[in-house]
């Protein structure tokens, strides 16, 4: 009946920890931080793509993009719900985001300058997210693992849609082709940086691996992503902006240039091109909606009081 022993056993057996199970405080804190950051990323990540809904170049693409941005809001909701099973409320987590005390993925601090960026986000950013998240479907914490299964399914749909946008552009007019290459040029290294610092500099990784929250190191996942992209870029006919990218027969993997981790650190610190814009946008939407949320609460209170009166009178 030692809960710590039971916890160790479950982890060891590759079974799931569930909300009512005992868990170490650090395990809980790590999960809350990670799931919340993931949820925040979905919500903030709506902005760069949302930027193109009004300008999508065909009605079909507009519908696909609207549905995608909507899915991201849905992912945010499941993930906040998963975090809530660990004893924090969504409102608290949203406050932590708005205060800047919790982060979201740095990739969303880059601007979407052209329509091709919508394709590049789908292909590269969702692609990197999937590489990161597929192992999380086997994460030791049950609610998170289950949320990830659902998220990954939709993400891979999004990734195909993004790839398809780029494929159409890459096989379109010279201007469209140039737009696609330009997007790849700008999004390639930031996407590589999504896997985090190199393993030597990664602070939380070892413990997360032991707890089976994480299953592969940053560098392993980054390599998997590069290997996947190289083949896809060939089909697209686009050039990955890395002159040192080449197949390494010994490693049976591609050698590639690492992203600029100093830049990653600057962006995490708040000095990316759009950090302030993204946060201000989120804060403004939240503040502008306050009177609406208050009205909904006031109305619900009145309705409950009315129902109560009716029950009493009956």
């Amino acid at each position: 009946d030692d809960p710590a022993a039971y916890f160790a056993e479950v982890i060891d057996a590759d079974h799931k920890i569930e909300p009512r199970d005992w868990m170490p405080d650090a395990y809980r804190r790590t999960l809350v931080r990670q799931i919340a950051q993931h949820a925040h990323s979905e919500i903030i990540g709506m902005q760069p793509e949302g930027n193109w809904i009004s300008r999508a170049p065909s009605l079909k693409r507009k519908a696909i993009l609207l549905a995608k941005v909507q899915d991201e809001a849905g992912h945010g909701l499941y993930l906040y719900a998963a975090a809530e099973t660990l004893g924090v409320s969504r409102d608290e987590l949203v406050e932590l985001l708005l205060d800047g005390r919790q982060k979201y993925s740095s990739i969303f601090n880059y601007p979407t300058l052209t329509w091709a960026d919508v394709g590049a986000i789908g292909w590269l950013v969702d692609g990197a997210a999937i590489v990161n998240q597929v192992p999380l479907c086997r994460c030791s914490y049950g609610p998170y693992a289950r949320a990830m299964i659902r998220v990954c399914k939709e993400e891979s749909f999004h990734q195909r849609q993004g790839y398809e946008i780029l494929h159409t552009l890459a096989h379109g007019t010279p201007a469209q082709r140039a737009m696609a290459q330009d997007a790849l040029d700008r999004w390639w290294y930031p996407s590589l940086a999504m896997f985090g610092p190199p393993d030597g500099d990664s602070t939380h990784s070892a413990q997360s691996m032991a707890w089976k929250i994480k299953r592969f190191s940053n560098d392993e996942l980054r390599q998997r992503f590069v290997d996947m992209c190289v083949r896809q870029a060939e089909i697209l006919g686009l050039t990955i902006p890395d002159p040192d990218l080449r197949w390494n027969e010994t490693r049976q993997a591609y050698d590639f240039t690492q992203p600029d981790y100093d830049e990653l650190m600057r962006v995490i610190k708040g000095e990316g091109p759009c950090n302030r814009q993204r946060m201000e946008h989120r804060r403004r939407a939240h503040a502008d909606g306050a009177w609406v949320r208050e009205a909904a609460t006031a109305y619900a209170v009145k309705q409950r009081a009315g129902a109560q009166r009716e029950r009493v009178a009956a």
């Binding site: 949302g50 170049p57 609207l66 945010g76 909701l77 939407a285 909606g289 609406v292 949320r293 006031a298």
Partner: protein, 241 residues
């Protein structure tokens, strides 16, 4: 309006412009659930717009598909009602606008579902269910806002006062059309009046009746909406996306 082409085009333009305005809310809604709901409604309107514009293009027989109609006409060629092109304003304006629009679209699509034109009937049958959801959603919000706080009541009443004049245009008689909009007026009133009453909102007196949208004489807002919506498509003539 004259024939089935004009009628279908006007309905398609209503839905397209409504979708465009609703899409502007993405990432800006007052709560996350509402971000999802507004996107849903925008997607429904966009879906109806695509069906209607595609069919309008076929009726016209000049080879224009949904994208040619959506992206390559200017505001003088759009036939939507003025209501849908008005700026979003605050959430109360958006919800009152959606209430008025869907209280018109529900009986319209219902009538269409029974009309002789099979294509229009199929579109109507699909869209009326969606519009019924839009009506429920907006009616609930109008009640919440009208009977919520003093602030929300003030904003909701201001929204009703601002938008009320624009509903008249929706019911301009057109006896030759597949569905005569004038015949939908009673259904509209039967839905909207109780919602406003329950929301403790005052239905404004009927005075000013702005119109012109069906003839392509719009407000100054529409050309800005189209400039943004069409910019990319127009910048690459003939490209596929």
């Amino acid at each position: 309006m004259n024939g089935p082409f004009d009628f279908t085009l006007a309905l398609g333009d209503d839905a397209l412009v409504a979708a465009q305005r609703l899409g502007e809310w993405a990432t800006r809604a007052p709560e996350m659930e509402e971000d999802i709901a507004l996107a849903n409604i925008a997607l429904d309107q966009l879906g109806a717009a695509r069906l209607l514009l595609s069919y309008a293009g076929e009726l016209e027989g000049a080879g224009r598909d949904e994208d040619a109609l959506a992206f390559l006409r200017d505001d003088r060629e759009f036939r939507n009602c003025l209501l849908v092109e008005l700026p979003n304003g605050d959430f109360a304006v958006t919800m009152v606008k959606l209430l008025l629009l869907s209280a018109y679209q529900v009986p319209l699509y219902t009538a269409l579902a029974g009309c002789a034109d099979e294509r229009l009937a199929a579109i109507g049958a699909k869209a009326r269910k969606e519009s019924a959801y839009h009506l429920d959603h907006s009616a609930l919000w109008v009640k919440r806002l009208g009977d919520g706080t003093d602030e929300s009541h003030r904003r909701a009443q201001a929204a009703v006062d601002q938008l009320w004049p624009y509903h008249h245009e929706l019911f301009t008689a057109d006896p030759a059309a597949p569905v005569d909009p004038a015949a939908l007026r009673a259904d509209f009133d039967a839905v909207v009046s109780p919602v406003l009453a329950e929301a403790t909102l005052t239905r404004p007196a009927d005075g000013w009746k702005p119109g012109g949208g069906r003839a392509g004489v719009h407000t100054e807002h529409l050309s800005f909406l189209l400039a943004e919506m069409q910019v990319l498509h127009r910048a690459h003539p003939g490209a596929q996306w």
